[in-house]
Each structure stands twice: as C-alpha cells, then as structure tokens.
C-alpha cells in the first residue's frame, strides 16, 4: 500500500512529502526522505523492543504490561522529587499528559531542549525572536546565513526544501540568485556550498557578532583588524551583504548554543538581526533537532507558562534552567526517581549525570532499547510516532503538522501508556 504525503518523524524539518510503501505490515520503500528519514523508516522494525522488560540482579527479563505500569506508578508516587525527562520524540498529546503528570506528582519536567536549543529560548526570553515560517524564506530570501549549523549532516533536506536549492515565488533560479554565508569553527560540508565562509576561532562567535552589530550601526571605525580570527575586511563585506539583501534568513545551531556564554551568543545573534531589520528584512530560526522538540516547548508553555525545565514541587510552575534542568538535577542528585520518555539521556548527557539515573529508580518508555535502558529498572515499548502512532508535532518554525500512523505493529502508543499511568496516579491522589 502506498502512503502519500507522509510526515517524517526524524528532525524538526518535519518534511511532509514522503511516499512510503507498506506491504503486509512492513515498510518496503521510502521515497523523498533523506538518509536519516530513510533509515528510520526502513530499519525501524529490526530494533524494536518487543515487550516490557524488567531488570533483575541476574539480567533482563520480560515483564507484563500490568506489572510495568503498577511499578511505574509506585515509583512515581513514592518519590519526593521525580524527574520526567525526554519528550521530544513523541507527539504533543503524550507530552501534554506528561506535563499534567508532573503537576499532580509535584515533579520536575524537562525535555531534550535543555541540551539542545534551551539556550536559544533563554536568549529569546531576553530579547524576543524575529522569525518567520520556512516558506517565507523559500519564497523570498536572497541571503541565507547558517551560523554554527551544519544542515547537511543534521537536517539534510533543509537546504533543498526551504533555502538554498529550492525555487520560490520571488526567486525563479534560487540557486543562482540566493547567496549563502556559513559561519563555523571548522570547514563543514555545509561550508563547501557557501558563497562566503567565515572561519571563526573557537569561542569567538560572541565577539564576531558584537563586531557585526557595531558595523551595521555604522561604528566600524572601532573594530580591530581581526576579531576571533576573522579579518575586519571580511566582517565589513559580510555586513554589507546582509544590509543589501532584500530578505535575509539567519539559521543557527548548536555551534553557538553549546559554546562559551551559551545563550548570550544567541542573544547577540538576535540583536544583530534586530539591527539589520532597521535596514532591510531579516529573520532568524533556530535549527531545532528532534522532530517534535519544539512541540514540547509549545505544549509546556500553554500549560505551565514556560517552555521547558519546569519544577512543580510546590504545586505551581517554577522555571529556572540551570537549576530545574535535567543535567543539573541529575548531577546534583536532586531527583530521587526518573521517568524517561522518548529520548536517550544516557547517550547524550555527561557521564556523571547518567550515573545518577542508575542510582535511583528509573523507568523508560521508548520503542527501542538504548543506552538509557541500561540504567532502568523497567522499560515499556510503545509505538513509534510517525510510523505506528499519530499526533501533533511542531516544525522548527512553529508550524504544527499532524504526524501520521501508516501501519499497526500492535504496540500501545505513548498516549495509551502515559494516559493509564496518569489515571492511576490521579486515582491514588484522589484528584
């Protein structure tokens, strides 16, 4: 059976033009997807965890769903400060249950945001976000800037669907008419397609952004001959390219969210874009990673007022990344139980944060065995959103798209499992 306009549940490009062929309950062919998307669809069935598992001193053994849910409820209710972490690899409806659970339990809820574009959010909270949907870029942008972002590896179709290679309403021969600037500390593959590549010395993004802001403001006289390895001549040229563009689109990635100063780099980038808007039209978009990491931020915001790292210990939302974010809480051993949903912190957190997961009761709800499994007491497999579960997802620009279920592999969805756990918790708490 051929499924058209399938939405890809890998990265936050959320491409929705895939053609997927299923035959007898397996996926046999995928068209239009990138390597990452292809891989996810085509190898999915090989790696699924088939049934709930339980850790015993002698090794892993299978568990009944009933037992797994009972024990999860018991762990969460028994905790003084449970951490509910993950969420970016599932649909909004499940995330929403997660936030409700955190509230009724008095726990902390955080998503992979905190180790991804959390700093972008902190910056936006200081200075705002001049953004747009990706179609604005596709139809109008004659200048695209990728700063500390490597879409060829992390968002392989970004350039062909939304920026460099795609024709738009006001650009008939986009590849010729659009200029591309790439800024990085190494010459990535993306840098190879740039009209202008700025090689910055490590840790120099902030200084370069400040210098560009001053230049755009007409204060170039004070800029030294080089800033973090970038010549003044190149800075002046870049500033001019930006000011002359009819529509500039600035995309940024981990290259500036994870370097020194973290969110202050992003803030500087945003303020550069603000400044450029006094001359022309400029927008900025964070290259969000997981296909629904932004969805978690949206859901968490309308429910709690804050996009991530929310602490409900005292019955109302408290937010302070750095204190209420997952790595900090684990590293400081401030949580005494953990529920991991739709992510793999053991692979992506520094090891001393991971170690604490193994010291407290941890349960994971995830379709695949992963490195976090090793630190869990239990894992409950679920359907994969976008393959055998459906629901809402938010693209990196905030456009909500309904991700589809294209076959049935017989697994419960995150919504089913979390819904049941939440129901049981409410029952126990008499809410």
């Amino acid at each position: 059976m051929l499924h058209e306009d399938v939405v890809c549940p890998f990265c936050a490009c959320l491409c929705d033009d895939l053609k997927v062929e299923t035959d007898n309950g397996t996926i046999v062919k995928v068209d239009n997807a990138c390597d990452l998307g292809n891989h996810k669809f085509l190898t999915d069935d090989d790696h699924r965890l088939k049934e709930p598992i339980r850790r015993t001193p002698s090794g892993w053994t299978s568990a009944t769903l009933q037992h797994a849910i009972d024990r999860t409820v018991e762990i969460l209710l028994g905790a003084d400060r449970p951490l509910l972490y993950g969420w970016s690899g599932t649909h909004g409806e499940a995330q929403s249950i997660g936030v409700h659970m955190a509230e009724v339990l008095g726990g902390v809820i955080d998503s992979t945001t905190s180790v991804c574009h959390g700093p972008s959010i902190l910056a936006i909270q200081e200075v705002g976000h001049p953004g747009c949907t990706l179609g604005q870029v596709k139809n109008r942008a004659d200048l695209v800037v990728y700063w500390g972002a490597n879409p060829i590896e992390a968002h392989p179709r970004h350039m062909s669907r939304y920026t460099t290679y795609t024709d738009g309403f006001f650009l008939d021969r986009a590849f010729k008419e659009r200029k591309v600037i790439v800024v990085d500390i190494r010459r990535t593959q993306t840098a190879e397609v740039a009209d202008e590549f700025i090689l910055i010395k490590k840790g120099g993004d902030y200084a370069v952004l400040s210098a560009l802001r001053a230049i755009v403001r007409g204060k170039s006289d004070m800029i030294p001959a080089t800033v973090a390895g970038v010549t003044k001549e190149q800075l002046l040229r870049i500033a001019e390219m930006c000011k002359k563009a009819k529509f500039g689109a600035f995309f940024f990635g981990m290259g500036i969210t994870q370097t020194q100063g973290k969110y202050k780099n992003i803030r500087n980038a945003i303020e550069l874009v603000d400044e450029l808007n006094r001359h022309t039209k400029f927008t900025l978009t964070p290259m969000r990673g997981h296909y629904n990491v932004y969805g978690f931020n949206e859901v968490c915001t309308w429910m709690t007022g804050y996009p991530y790292a929310v602490d409900f210990c005292r019955g109302m939302a408290f937010y302070n990344p750095g204190e209420t974010s997952a790595v900090d809480i684990l590293a400081r051993k401030e949580c005494d139980a953990c529920l991991v949903v739709a992510s793999d912190p053991a692979a992506h957190f520094p090891k001393d944060a991971v170690r604490h997961l193994g010291e407290i009761p941890t349960v994971q709800i995830d379709p695949y065995p992963n490195t976090t499994t090793a630190f869990c007491e239990l894992q409950i497999p679920v359907a994969v959103t976008g393959i055998d579960a459906q629901g809402t997802s938010y693209r990196m620009d905030g456009v909500p798209i309904r991700v589809k279920s294209i076959l049935n592999r017989g697994y419960p969805t995150d919504t089913d499992i979390l819904g049941e756990i939440y129901r049981r918790i409410k029952e126990a708490k008499r809410v």
Partner: protein, 566 residues
C-alpha cells in the same frame, strides 16, 4: 435529562427587554425553558444581577503568537501564578496567562464564549490544540486573510466569487469562524520589511489596495452568508493622525446584511488618533463615533487601554516593529508564508505618559459617544489594551462619571486639552452594559439566533450571576462595589452546569468550538482548482493534503453550515 432552577434572579436581558426584573430561570439540558420539574437542582440567586454569559468578540487567548507571548516572557509568567487546587490546575501569567489561567479567569468573571481574534490558517492546528486546553468557554477563531496570496490575486482579477471560494476552502480547512483582515496588504508588504500607509497604497507586487481587499472580502463574506461579518483591524494602527484612515476604511464597507453589521472594526481606540506625531497626539474619538453613528451597518469594539503592564500581540507585524523601536525592550516577529504576519512586544502603559493617557480616554469616549451600545462592544483587544481582567474597571468607568473624573485628575494636566472625555457626562446603565458585553456581541457574531447573548426561551443556558443587588446601589457613586462584584461571579453557569462559584472552578470540561463550513457549488471548489492546487504545492512548505485541520482537533465542536448565494 438535567434540570436547574435559578430562583430570585435579577435579570438584565436587553434582547428580551428584561431590565432588572426578579424572576426564576428554568434550565433543561443546557437550554432555557419555561419550567422544570421539582426534581431540578435549585440555586438561589438572592436577587443578584443575572445576565447571559459574557462573550468576548475579540481577544487573544490561544494560538501561535499568544503562546509565543508566554514563551518569551517568564517574567510575566511568574507574575500571575496560582496553585493547583482541587480540580483546578495551577496557572501562570498575568498579561498572557496559560490556557487554564485564561479559562479560569474568564469563567470567574462570567464569560462563557470567546473569539480568538487572529488565527493564521497555516498554524490553525495550534489554536485548536489550545482551544482543547481551554475547558470552560466556547471558542471561535477569526481566520487571517489580510495577506493571502490567492485572495489578493483574485481581488486583482476582480473575481469576487473566486475570493469567496478561496475563503470557503480555507475556513473549512482550518475550522475557523470568520474572516479577519489585519492591516490588509500591510502584512504582505512586511514580508519585505515594508508597510502600507493607508487603504489606497498598492501592495508590493500584488498591485491591489487595502480598500479593494476589504471591499471584496465583505462581498465574499455575504456571498457565503457567514454568521459574522468581516472583522477588520485597520491599516496604520497606533499612529497619530490615523483616524482618517479608519473612517476611510469604514466608508469602503457596503451595507449588505439586514441582521447584523456588514463590517466589524476592531480595537478602534488604537485607530482614532489625531495629531501628526507623538508630540501632538489627540483624540479623534468624536469624529470616529460620529461616523459609526451615521453607519448602522458598522460595529466596533473599544480596544480600551488600561494603565499598567501588558503584552501587545498582533498579526500587524510592521506596527510591532515600530513599537519595538520606541521601547527597545524585546521584540518577536513571526511572518507566515502566503498568509500574514505577527509581532509581539511587552509594554507598560503609564499614567505619567500623555500619549497613554490620551489612549485611555479615547476608548471610553468611543463607548460614550456612540449612541447604540450594540455598535460599540466592550473589549480591550486582550491583552493589547490591557488584560481582560480589567473589564470590571472599564464597566465601572462607563457607568460612573465621578470615577472617570477621579481618574482624569491623576493624568498629566496637558492631557485634558487633547481629549473630550472630561466633558462627557453620559453614564451607561445595566442594559447598555449587557448590550456591550453579551447581547451586542452575540448579535455581532451572528450567534443571537443560535441562543447566545440572551436568556430567552430556547437560549443556551450560559448564565452569569454577580453578587450585586443592582436596585440597591448607585453605580455612579458606588463604582468600587461594581468593580468588586463583576470580578468574581457568585455563579457562572455554562450549558446549564455551574462551572464556577465564588472564584472556584467546579467543572473541568463543558465547551464547544464553533466553526463554519460554507457550501459553494461543487465545480467552484478550490480542491478541484488546478491553479490553486499547483500554486499551493509550489509555494507552501506543507502539502495541501496535510494542511486541513483534522477532526481530532475539534472533538467538541459545533459546525455552522451555510449555503452560499452563488
């Protein structure tokens, strides 16, 4: 079958010409009926003010930019936090509360239906998700058409039927309620960092004028026989001297509908400025009010501004950028491909500012100078003019000249020569307040005959009972008691069920989302139109099949089907 009897209600229901009569109200299965059996649950209203549930015909509570207003403002979130309690969820936020915060606060003020003022079609799914998380009010969404490319192309081709067909397709696809145009043409120009100054400027590339967009959409609206009229946010918001643009925009509107207005002009306070700069800004509310008095086919809302902190958010992207350059605080912008734009910035309206003082006076002047209260509805363009929790104060200001004079006395003395408020002694009565807050709103939205905004037989049993004996107080003198009483209902009843009592939320789910599905001749439908489909697939970044909002997003909904006059 569920029955409810409200005894000793002091009913103010202008639609049914009931003005402060003590009576019983009977409710069966969510509707007002003649009588109920003696098994009915009984509520004693103790002679307190009882009105139909409040309706807010223009507010921003759900959707992409509202949520972004929260997302970018942890300082606003911490300013209004409440604890989880019983079945009430915790809430956050002062000017842009969380969905539960909005819903609880509206409910405890007696509001049972709200219209989200601006929904970008591409992001409609988000608005509906938040509607689902808004448990206590009926919800509707205006759909933005101000910069819609296919619409502008059809306007350019003077093909009103094609405009109607596009609107029908979009409204159906996104499950929206009405046509909204925000700074028509200006949001498209903002795609290039530009704007239009008023209704005669051509939109870059598309070569249509705002006036043409407005007029054609009004005609298309009536072809489709939509319940509500076109809902217009005029060009040039917040600019000194913009009143002439506002009046010009009203002049464009033909009178095409006998049952309601043909054009709803929103937050007119922001569009009634005289002067040439911030230095000489003054009120032209009297000129705008005169125009409205002469045009019964126009309805406006006040867009009242109240002093204090708030967050401004609108589809009017260029206006927000200009505001940012004034305040230099923080600025968010979000342009939506082929459709519209939006912007958000936090503001503080200060009593010490002459500009802000003039703005404050203009909203009140409009409401007091427009003779028919059904033509001037109460709204603050929440949260732009102020958060909706200030409605009780606005009502008290409209009912009390002494209160207004006391407030005027706190403003900079230079304000007085720029406004006419000090000389206006009209004081509105409870009938007029009911008109402005429910009856008129119900009529303007085209929902009166569907039983909203009044308490006649067959009406939906959305009822607000405020702890105030209106016969015993003089609102002119005892305005603080008016404010107190309107802040928290004794009971708010939705579909015949008590949802709030003395500020406590008692029920967690009792609402519907109202949307329209205009039916047009099959051969004109856009889903069969090759041009429309080709351009959609070429220029949008989502596939046409993934664009419509699925049924899963409107689990509780009321679809109004209309038959177009083709």
């Amino acid at each position: 079958m569920s029955e409810l009897l409200i005894r000793h209600a002091c009913v103010v229901d202008p639609v049914n010409r009931i003005s402060g009569e003590i009576m019983d109200l009977a409710v069966r299965d969510g509707r007002i009926v003649e009588s109920v059996s003696d098994r009915a649950e009984v509520i004693d209203a103790q002679g307190f003010l009882t009105m139909a549930g409040g309706i807010d015909s223009h507010t921003h509570i759900c959707g992409t930019k509202v949520n972004f207003g929260r997302y970018m403002s942890p300082e606003d979130m911490r300013a209004g936090r409440t604890l989880k309690k019983g079945q009430m969820h915790s809430t956050s936020g002062y000017s842009v509360p969380t969905t539960y915060g909005n819903s609880y606060r509206y409910a405890t003020m007696g509001y049972t239906a709200v219209l989200e003022g601006a929904m970008a079609p591409l992001e409609a799914r988000h608005t509906h998700e938040e509607f689902m998380a808004t448990p206590l009010q009926d919800t509707m969404a205006n759909v933005l058409f101000d910069g819609n490319w296919p619409v502008m192309e059809a306007v350019r081709d003077r093909d009103v039927k094609r405009v109607a067909a596009i609107v029908a397709w979009v409204l159906t696809a996104v499950k929206g309620f009405a046509i909204k145009i925000t700074n028509p043409g200006g949001t498209e120009a903002w795609g290039w960092g530009k704007n239009v100054t008023c209704i005669r400027d051509p939109v870059p590339y598309f070569e249509v004028t705002p006036a043409e967009i407005i007029e054609t959409l009004i005609r298309a609206n009536e072809i489709l026989r939509l319940p509500h009229s076109v809902h217009l946010h005029c060009n040039n918001l917040g600019t000194p001297g913009n009143y002439s643009c506002t009046i010009g925009s009203m002049d464009v509107a033909p009178d095409l509908n006998k049952e309601r207005q043909s054009l709803y002009v929103t937050h007119v306070q922001f569009h009634s400025y005289g002067g040439t700069s911030w230095k000489d800004i003054n009120s032209k509310a009297h000129v705008v009010a005169d125009a409205v008095n002469r045009k019964p086919h126009i309805v406006i809302d006040m867009g009242q501004m109240m002093f204090g902190k708030t967050t401004t958010m609108t589809a009017d992207g260029p206006m927000e950028f200009n505001l940012y350059k004034l305040h230099h605080n923080k600025w968010s912008n979000h342009d939506v491909e082929l459709e519209t734009g939006s912007g958000i910035i936090p503001v503080y309206y200060s009593r010490k500012s002459i500009v802000n003082s003039v703005m404050w006076a203009i909203g009140l002047e409009l409401a007091l100078l427009i003779k028919n209260p059904e033509q001037c509805l109460l709204a603050t363009d929440n949260p732009n003019g102020s958060p909706f929790v200030k409605y009780p104060e606005i009502i008290a200001l409209l009912m009390s000249n002494p209160y207004r004079q006391a407030e005027i006395a706190t403003l900079p003395p230079e304000t007085e020569s720029r406004i006419s408020l000090p000389a206006i002694d009209r004081e509105l009565d409870w009938n007029e307040i009911a008109m402005m807050t429910r009856a008129g709103q119900g009529r303007a939205l085209g929902l009166r005959k569907l039983g909203r905004g009044h308490l006649g037989l067959g009406a939906i049993a959305d009822i607000a009972i405020y702890p105030l004996s209106i016969g015993a107080i003089d609102p002119s003198k005892e305005y603080t008691r008016v404010i107190e009483a309107l802040r928290l209902t004794r009971y708010t009843i939705k579909n015949g069920k008590v949802i709030a009592r003395d500020g406590e939320i008692l029920s967690n789910r009792n609402k519907t989302t109202i949307w329209v599905r205009p039916k047009i001749p099959e051969q004109h439908r856009m889903d069969h139109d090759p041009d429309f489909i080709r351009n959609f697939e070429r220029y949008y970044t989502v596939r046409m099949s993934n664009y419509p909002v699925q049924e899963a997003y409107v689990p509780e909904s009321t679809c109004i089907e209309t038959e177009a006059v083709w």
